[in-house]
Amino acid sequence: MSFFVEALISLLLVAGGIFVFIGSLGLAHLRDFYMRLHGPTKATTLGIGCMLVASMGYFWSIDGKPDVQELLITLFLFITAPVSAHLLAKTGLHMQLKHVDKTQGKPVELRSEEVGEKPVPHPDKGHG
């Protein structure tokens, strides 16, 4: 393994570690539920991506043939991360979790006086 490849792989690993750490720090450290969602959806996604690319490069240079399984992991991660974040945010709104006071804009879901007790039926547009 040449020095250049080794340096590139270690750089990717370190960058990935830093990003995942910062994402987790955000998860632990930001003030309210909705802000905490931002850390794991973004920083962690890129961090894991860096590590997977590093892993791919390492085994490519060791075995001499490329391996695409890491790319599949990245693909699945990019598909599932926004969906889970959306569901978490939606649940947070439904539970009317508190947000920090300086948050601007007040969505209907968080104004308790305007949300009725009964669920509103979904007006389906016909397909589905």
Partner: protein, 165 residues
């Protein structure tokens, strides 16, 4: 003979399933190809009732360009969010934004919502019941209208061109 549409309702999905299976088992042996082929036909048949009407891709090249743009934005988004989190003197201005949707198909709205969640400082929080607007939570925003205009120009208009025209 049964018409191809009857046993292969979603050719693209079937092809994707076949490819992903072969890549996951890391083998192109004949047995694996037969097995994945059978699965690629069976799974869409069993699940096609759950699927919405699939819009066809009008401009594949534009889709590719859109994908690369989103990938680049994901990298930038990560640096921004990482900086916001790691900077101890940060003054973040969180913001709930009502984003009026121009898209109409559910599939494209899903794509847009996922894109928004992965890119700079925004998470899509709720799709309104009538499918007319999307609630977005942004981590750090000065100008609400600028963000809406940016999302519209950068993501929504290309998606509309690709799928709905």
């Amino acid at each position: 003979m049964i018409a191809p549409r009857a046993w292969l309702p979603t050719p693209v999905l079937s092809l994707l399933l076949l490819l992903v299976w072969l890549l996951l088992v890391r083998s192109f042996a004949f047995g694996q190809i037969v097995l994945s082929g059978a699965l690629a036909i069976l799974i869409p048949l069993l699940t096609h009732r759950f699927w919405d009407a699939r819009p066809r891709i009008g401009k594949p090249l534009k889709l590719l360009r859109f994908a690369f743009r989103v990938l680049g934005d994901i990298v930038i988004a990560n640096f921004e969010v990482a900086y916001l989190i790691a900077n101890p003197w940060r003054k973040v201005k969180p913001h709930f934004i009502e984003y009026p949707l121009m898209l109409e198909e559910r599939f494209t709205i899903t794509l847009l919502a996922s894109t928004i969640s992965l890119t700079p400082g925004t998470v899509s929080a709720n799709l309104r019941m009538d499918g007319k607007s999307l609630l977005i939570h942004a981590l750090d925003v000065d100008d609400e209208d600028a963000l809406i205009a940016q999302i519209r120009e950068r993501y929504e208009r290309p998606l509309k061109e690709i799928y709905e025209c």
